[in-house]
């Protein structure tokens, strides 16, 4: 079956522009996670969606970051007024709600802010 897909795979944007990153989770996975990996850092939790529950946004670094998940499936992470420190690989993962330890990751979107 299809795994988690993310688009675009690479994105170069100018400082101050808005960007949207997309994630298609595995069908049937109601849990969806966004992470960020900056150079030399571990995976940093950003946001968690589970079904129709309110998302856990506690990892979002600033109010320039937002995410939504439409119809319990596809998710979009939006970064407004991008800054150079936003440059990172953004990873999306999905899982069954009872198996949050076994998250299936997409290949990531490499964002470069110039």
């Amino acid at each position: 079956g299809a795994g988690v897909s993310q688009s675009p795979s690479n994105k170069v944007t100018e400082k101050g522009k808005d960007v949207e990153l997309r994630c298609d989770p595995i069908s049937g996975h109601t849990a969806l996670y966004w992470y960020r990996q900056s150079l030399g850092q571990g995976l940093e939790f950003l946001i968690y969606f589970q079904g129709n529950s309110a998302p856990d946004k506690s990892g979002l670094p600033s109010d320039r970051f937002s995410a939504e998940r439409t119809g319990g499936s596809v998710s979009t992470l939006t970064i407004q007024r991008t800054q150079q420190e936003d440059s990172a690989v953004y990873l999306c993962a999905s899982s069954l709600p009872s198996s949050s330890y076994e998250q299936y990751f997409g290949p990531g979107t490499r964002l470069t802010v110039t």
Binding site: L43, S100, Y104, F105
Partner: protein
């Protein structure tokens, strides 16, 4: 404040020998631990997990050891194979982080030499 630390950024091991990857954590409330493996240009994939009620979990060539008093876990790969060359992340959850929010280390790049 890095709650999960992988102090060795890289490790080289001869094929057939044992690879030992280490991970330290600071939060005594963590109660579930994971290892993920990541190949270049791919998302991380789940490898093995351990609950804090155990001190060892084995899956084929992979064994994870947990030393709660030392707040230390390690991943042993025996025998190491060239295909094991990848970046390995440890992660932990529990306490105020909740059951789904994993704190990841910065990773250790393993190179298995043929």
């Amino acid at each position: 404040d890095q709650q999960v630390k992988q102090n060795s950024p890289s490790l080289s091991v001869q094929e057939g020998r044992i690879s030992i990857l280490n991970c330290d954590y600071t939060n005594s409330m963590f109660d579930y631990f994971l290892w993920y493996k990541k190949y270049p240009a791919e998302g991380p994939t789940f490898l093995i997990s351990i609950s804090s009620i155990k001190d060892k979990n084995e899956d084929g060539r992979f064994t994870v050891f947990l030393n709660k008093s030392a707040k230390h876990l390690s991943l042993h790969i025996v025998p190491s194979q060239p295909g094991d060359s990848a970046v390995y992340f440890c992660a932990a959850s529990g306490g105020t982080s909740g059951t789904y929010k994993y704190i990841f280390g910065t990773g250790t790049r393993l190179k298995v030499l043929a």
